[in-house]
Amino acid sequence: MKALCQGNLAARALRAWLLALALVLAAGVASAVDPVELDDPVLQARYRELSHELRCMQCQNQSIADSPVGLAGDLRREVRELLVAGKSDDEIRSWMRERYGDFILFRPVFAARTAWLWLAPAVLLIIGLGVAVRVVRQRASIAANGSEDDDGSPA
């Protein structure tokens, strides 16, 4: 029994190690585009976040964090320098917008022009709920009246 437990433990330890190794390797692949790290872990976290939010204008469907092209590297350098200079995330976003326009942000800004984009899901949800409530009530009243006329033909 004891031997079995130890065997289990060894197998589990081995599996844990293999998993850790796989994760480390995967992380290595994931960060291959951008090997630069900032010394401050807080800044590094913000840097990762920001560089994933900014579009690489050359390749367009990649963020500057994922793109290997030269311009993306230059933009990452700018983000790092602005972070180290103490700029806030919003200041860095508007710094980018001043130069490249709203298109550089993957997450659209909330403005009169984009309000429908942000509000449409909520409006559609409310409309959908309204329709659902009506349908459920109709069915309920049909069931309550014991109507047999629910064959799908118009009334």
């Binding site: 204008m57 367009q60 311009l71």
Partner: protein, 184 residues
Amino acid sequence: MNRFLVPMAAFALLVVVLAIGIDRAPQKSVIESALLGKAAPEFVLPQLGSEAPFDSRSMRGRWYLLNVWGTWCAECRAEHEMLLEISRSKRLPVVGLNWKDEDGLATQWLQDLGNPYEHVPLDREGRTAIDWGVYGAPETFLIDADGKIVYKHVGAMTPEVWQRQILARLPPPSATLPAPEPAS
């Protein structure tokens, strides 16, 4: 009839919304500059063939083109003949911002193909290009006498762009010269 009215109306609305979306979708290959109508970002950079750095403020009072190029850029070679033609027309000076290039290669390029540029500032680190919102060479900006960006063309300069977009925006040739003193 009635039970189809709401779904049909909803579908029609969807068609309208999507049609507007498709119609107004930005042309992704050409992104309008965020700097149009704004003051051109100022810069001071070393330049080819001169010890003195190039200061963009020295262009104040004149309309000019700022052409972003590099010897690594194939389209730049394609547009070079057109740039030479623009330079020969003497309608306005062309400043050639050399973007992330090697000075030696740039010099060689201009010796081989001819030099259409009044100045060639060297943006070796690509910072000035970022300030100008450049995302791919070649790009050409038209800047007015007040230092404002009037127009930006992405891609190779062509006779059509020169005629329709640049010449059409330029003041008549006499107006590009200093205004004559009003006769009293």
